[in-house]
């Protein structure tokens, strides 16, 4: 039995301001646009069913001692209303941007909230995969790293997924915060939509590592605002598509202040009849002097029927900058293939070794060994067969 947005909100006892916001979003979504590229991912609203909420701090004991909070988003909305009210879909992802965002807020089913207090440093990577319920369609993560903190997060999808899957991640970094985010996207959903938007204050530093290994049609979107002076961001992404898969990766770093630096580095393998699109934008605003913006995008096509598309865009308003992009689409280097074959390796294995070598440098950066193995196994299964 399905519930209305209001009934759902009441069922898990969320604060009134959030319920009101959701109802407003639900009412307003019909007046909003759905941008053309997003139309395919404008899912039907999910069925809402009552869920029990764990109101505890879910962080492991050692992290709790450092003051770190990891909670269900709805429980956190009661506990830290000012933090959530100010930041949830207001800063990094804005709910009024399009009908899709508004619908996501209205029908938000499961969410997680992470708060890293000032100057807290954690060496090992924090696994935040279980903060959201992977069976749900509309999922959300809100991460706030206060000034001076230094942490890294790992998120990985579980095997069971709904038909349509959407995860929106907001990362907010205070002054001098230093965050790494490892994201292993490996859903079996028919359609999968992942968003990671970030907002950086002065001298903050964000690195994201993304392994995009979904099986269905997928879209990865990331928009990073370098708002504070001296902030910097790196997006490192590897992707794999095969069969009839359709994959779109849209990444954007905006340099808004002086001395900021953005680098987008992406590599993808396109096999069988699949298609991969890299739509990459580096934007330097007029105020952002002494900044740099760089992009490297490479696609490796494995079959004559594979399709690749790269749109590396630079929008430069300031002259005191260095900006560039390099993009290439191409097949496996025949000389390298030939070399491996002369060493007695059959063509299929040689091809697999070369594609594996193409992605491994990034996959090896994942701190969690099991995630690394999982990604590499997935690659082997799909390419080597």
């Amino acid at each position: 039995m399905s519930m209305s947005v209001q009934e759902f909100a009441l069922s898990h006892n969320e604060p009134q301001w959030l319920t009101v916001k959701r109802i407003v979003a639900n009412d307003m979504k019909n007046t909003m646009r759905v941008p053309a590229p997003l139309r395919k991912f404008h899912f039907e609203s999910p069925e809402l069913n009552p869920r029990s909420i764990d109101t505890q701090n879910l962080a492991p004991k050692n992290l709790q001692d450092l003051g770190i909070i990891m909670m269900d988003l709805f429980a956190a909305a009661n506990e830290f209303p000012e933090l959530i009210q100010e930041n949830l879909m207001e800063k990094a992802i804005y709910w009024r941007d399009n009908a899709l965002n508004a619908n996501h807020l209205a029908y938000l089913q499961s969410g997680g909230f992470v708060f890293i207090p000032k100057d807290v440093c954690v060496d090992e990577s924090i696994d935040i995969s279980d903060l959201v319920d992977h069976n749900m369609q509309e999922k959300h993560l809100l991460i706030i790293a206060a000034s001076g903190s230094e942490v890294s997060f790992t998120y990985k999808d579980s095997k069971q997924q709904p038909k349509n899957d959407r995860l929106m991640i907001e990362v907010l970094l205070g002054d001098h915060a230093n965050v790494s985010f490892y994201d292993a996207a490996m859903t079996n959903s028919e359609k999968s939509h992942r968003v990671l938007n970030a907002y950086l204050a002065q001298n903050a530093n964000l690195k994201t590592y993304v392994g995009l290994f979904n099986h269905g049609d997928s879209r990865y979107y990331s928009n990073i605002d370098l708002d504070g002076m001296g902030s910097s961001a790196r997006i490192n992404l590897v992707s794999l598509s095969d069969q009839n898969q359709n994959q779109v990766v849209q990444t954007k770093i905006i340099n808004k202040s002086p001395n900021t630096s953005g680098l987008i580095s992406q590599r993808g393998i396109v096999a069988d009849k699949s298609k991969t699109v890299y739509d990459t934008t580096g934007q330097i605003k007029l105020e952002a002097s002494d900044s740099d913006s760089d992009q490297i995008s490479r696609l490796l096509t494995l079959s004559p029927e594979s399709k690749g598309k790269i749109d590396p865009i630079l929008l430069i308003d300031n002259h005191d900058v260095v900006a560039g992009h390099a993009a290439s689409v191409g097949k496996v280097n025949p000389e390298q293939l030939y070399y491996l074959k002369t060493r007695g390796i059959d063509a299929k294995t040689a091809r697999f070794l070369l594609t594996r070598g193409f992605l491994t440098p990034l996959i090896e950066k994942f701190p969690d060994k099991s995630v690394q193995e999982h990604l590499l196994n997935n690659l082997e299964e799909r390419i080597h067969g």
Partner: protein, 469 residues
């Protein structure tokens, strides 16, 4: 009085070709555009019925199509205030002596006759809408090369024109391609027969003289099998307070094993909207090259394209754009790989200063059948000061897995290390800056015929004045 004279002098100094001749057009259609005007233009030229049909069809499409929704703002361009057709002289003159004196003065100033006398194969000058002077050296005529203005070609070689006209640039492509097809006048027609090599460049010159004028030349170049040609054109206009429109359509057909290089230096004054549609096709083993310099105009939107239709066809685009002041250069190129083993090469250099905007907007597309194709794209931009902007918007689509695209772009200011080095050798900052800029565009300028390279140097020199780092 003296001070007024001086200020007039100063105004004229602003733009090298900013002199304006007092030529009253013999015939003008007046402001704005209606179907009657399209009919009138066609009737004035005594055109065959099929051409009128093409014009009227294009006019209908022109009315339906929207203005371009990307790039520069065209809202100041008032299409109802443009004079769509005017004729400066009654007949197209064949011999230089017959050209009216004041029109001749203009060409003396821009150097057409000298150029012709020196070593150019044939020069054609388009003044407002129609060619006033067209000639080609006798030896080329003997080889069978047809070089005339398009109106004359329509009279003398109607079959050739009918076979190729509008086959590449169709009115559906964009609003201004449709407008040109409806009201086209003048332009160059060049036919190089099978196996003929025109060893010396063939040259044309275009000039807008009156304000609020639309110049819609239609250029049609056909290079038959195993032939080759090098075609060069230049464009200027005087300063006017009202805006002028230049919407040219250019079609180039390069047949099997043929070669064509099309060189343009566009130096319109800063009141000209230059909205051009250029498209070439290259058959098996043919080579097509666009060499494209954009130095002036108010707004330029120009994306020359090449359809690589035959196996092993090759397309090259070499361009520079220089935007200073309020100039908005939105240029780029489109390469459509339609056959296997085709290759393309794009080199684009842009410089913007004093608030200018230079954008690169390009597309490389390789369809399913274009196996084993290759493309290399390089876009470099120098932004010289804080007021200037540059966007790079490339699209690289590969619809098969056997082809390769490499794309590189760089946007930066003038390297401080280079500047420091040159200044340590005793050059002033201005000299050093100029030298770096000249070096930056060298891959382009050394592809130009000598006198064009010199003119380019002069123009850059002039644009770089008072600009320091």
């Amino acid at each position: 009085m003296i001070s007024i004279d001086k200020s007039i002098q100063h105004l004229n100094d602003d733009y090298q070709y900013g002199f304006k001749d007092d030529v009253k057009p013999v015939f003008s259609t007046g402001d704005g555009l209606t179907e009657d005007i399209v009919r009138e233009i066609s009737a004035q030229k005594h055109e065959p019925e099929w051409m009128l049909d093409i014009r009227l069809n294009a006019f209908k499409i022109f009315q339906k199509l929207p203005m371009p929704e990307f790039g520069p703002d065209l809202s100041d361009l008032d299409l109802s205030k443009i004079r769509y057709f005017q004729r400066a002289t009654d007949s197209v003159s064949r011999s230089w002596d017959d050209v009216p004196e004041n029109i001749k003065n203009t060409f003396e100033k821009i150097g057409v006759p000298e150029a012709e006398r020196k070593y150019l194969a044939g020069a054609e000058a388009q003044y407002e809408s129609e060619a006033v002077y067209a000639n080609i050296k006798k030896e080329f005529a003997d080889m069978g090369i047809i070089f005339s203005d398009t109106d004359t070609a329509l009279k003398e070689h109607p079959d050739l024109v009918k076979e190729y006209f509008g086959k590449l640039v169709t009115p559906q492509m964009n609003k201004f391609a449709a407008l040109n097809t409806a009201v086209w006048s003048g332009g160059v027609f060049l036919y190089v027969p099978k196996g003929v090599h025109a060893k010396i460049p063939i040259q044309a010159f275009f000039r807008i003289n009156a304000g609020r004028t639309g110049q819609f030349e239609r250029t049609l170049i056909i290079v038959d099998e195993d032939a080759s040609v090098n075609y060069v054109e230049g464009c200027t206009a005087p300063n006017y307070s009202e805006d002028s429109l230049h919407a040219a359509d250019v079609e180039v057909f390069v047949k099997k094993n043929a070669f064509c290089r099309y060189t343009t230096i566009q130096n319109w004054s800063d009141n000209v909207y230059s909205l051009e549609t250029k498209r070439a096709s290259a058959d098996e083993n043919a080579t097509m090259e666009w060499v494209d310099g954009n130095l002036g105009s108010k707004v330029t939107m120009k994306y020359p394209s090449i359809d690589l239709n035959g196996p092993y066809a090759n397309g090259t685009m070499l361009s520079i754009a220089f935007a200073s002041g309020d100039i908005y250069q939105d240029t780029g190129c489109i390469m459509r790989h339609h056959a296997p083993h085709t290759s393309s090469n794009v080199v684009s250099k842009s410089i913007c200063k004093d608030g200018g905007t230079c954008n690169y907007r390009g597309t490389i597309r390789m369809i399913e059948d274009a196996h084993y194709s290759k493309s290399h794209i390089e876009c470099d931009t120098i932004i010289m000061d804080d007021d200037s902007m540059s966007d790079t918007i490339p699209h690289n689509d590969i619809y098969n897995g056997d082809s390769e695209i490499e794309h590189e772009a760089k946007v930066s200011k003038i390297s401080e290390t280079d500047l420091y080095y040159l200044m340590s050798r005793g050059l002033s900052e201005a000299q050093a800056t100029k030298m770096i800029i000249m070096g930056f565009i060298e891959p382009f300028s050394n592809q130009l015929p000598m006198e064009y390279a010199m003119e380019l140097n002069k123009l850059i020199d002039y644009q770089m004045e008072d600009s320091v780092g």
